[in-house]
Symmetry: C2
Subunit: 224 residues, 2 copies
DNA sequence: AAGGAAAGAGAATGAACGTTCTTTGACGCG
DNA sequence: CGCGTCAAAGAACGTTCATTCTCTTTCCTT
């Protein structure tokens, strides 16, 4: 719904162009939804936090639901890329697997951490909002694919592959309520124990290139 | 109208006494909050589902928040007892640990399963409602104590003890979004792998009474 | 410099919610 | 038989929210 009708060159754009405004809004929405939940946040708060008039917000998105979905999607893309980059900075296949939990530890230590944004949105709006439920499903499927690809390409058994994902998911839930990063360390210790028992993981020579990286670093957010 | 004068006791109490009314309300609230979230459910729906007039509801509870907390608390008590009974029906220490995940598998298979009610409430209302946040914290602490007590009294290492809890928490989150009980089976397989690598677990004879409150006695928690 | 389109700020609107109050009707007791 | 008490049902009240509309100002174009 862009108004390309009479908007010539870069004349006057106090709040930036469409993309800039979109980023302003999503930055504000991500922060506020994370801190206070979704239904507890009114559009007026999004307006004051983003500096955008309501009129612009409703030009960018058809409604609040779309803002929520876009916020989740943008954060998903960023998170996947972050994890991918973190894993790619590790050396051996074993270290790549363990580095996942270092990433989670760092996340849990940030003061804004308040649990998994997707699980929070799912618990709050999943039953009544199919678009949000679908977005959460999409996130979890890709997140799971990323987390399982690391131990799988390290040659781990399927039991260990599944455990890495479930331990990560459990650590997020535990850390959220406990307000402590220690579940990440516990999950890491559990994975270390599993890897020690899983012969191929520690010594096997699996091509260490970033198999999952392709899914995270360059994939466009389009589609689905 | 349809008010048969069924007064089975002192005076006339069409809807039962205080405890009966409380149970009526909590039954309805538990079901509806689980299916639709909390903020999406109005007091009017609680009234129609429970059959209690609003006046009685507000006599039983000072407000909606108290209904939510009471619902979570009652369900917590029931869940803890259910898990304890299920574990106690198992035989060897190893089977007791694995039976935890059979319990979860059964839970995930029920059609009403929609994730962890406490995590859902925490994501939705934790930031704005300290009473609910405290109730969730209380639940998670006791839930964790129960789940860790089973592998601990089976002689498992602390890494395995922590993994059992985190795998359970992760399985709940995964099963909720996937609408599938398979995460319970995956978690069970991971625990079986851990137990196989954990020497004392399979053979050691540890007195296997359920819910041994004396938790941390042997090994210190795996710090950072 | 005048005209006009678009921008920002915020009021208006209509619906939903939590909580309280009023009305209506039935029962027990004198 | 009439009166007081209490229960149920639902209207009422004040607030909040998502969304739309209005009014005033700004700044480009001619």
């Amino acid at each position: 719904m862009s108004r390309a009708t009479t908007a010539p060159g870069p004349g006057r754009r106090p709040s930036g162009d469409g993309d800039g405004r979109r980023a302003l809004l999503l930055d504000a929405a991500e922060k506020i939804f994370n801190a206070r939940g979704i239904q507890a946040v009114g559009m007026d708060r999004l307006r004051s936090a983003s500096g955008l008039p309501l009129k612009r917000i409703y030009e960018l998105f058809p409604g609040k639901d779309a803002v929520v979905v876009a916020t989740l999607r943008r954060r998903h893309t960023r998170m996947m890329a972050d994890i991918g980059a973190h894993v790619d900075a590790a050396g051996s296949p074993r270290e790549r697997v363990l580095s996942l939990f270092d990433w989670f530890h760092e996340w849990f230590e940030t003061p804004e951490f308040r649990g998994c944004p997707w699980m929070n949105a799912y618990g709050e709006l999943g039953p009544t909002n199919p678009a949000i439920a679908a977005e959460v499903y999409h996130h979890q499927r890709e997140f799971r694919a990323l987390l399982t690809s690391v131990p799988r390409s390290a040659g781990c058994s399927e039991a260990v592959v599944g455990a890495v994902y479930l331990l990560a998911e459990g650590a997020v839930a535990a850390a959220a309520v406990q307000h402590s990063p220690s579940p990440a360390a516990e999950a890491r210790a559990a994975v270390a124990a599993l890897l020690a028992a899983d012969a191929p993981a520690s010594g096997a020579a699996v091509p260490g290139t970033a198999v999952p990286g392709a899914a995270a670093s360059t994939a466009p957010p389009a589609g689905v």
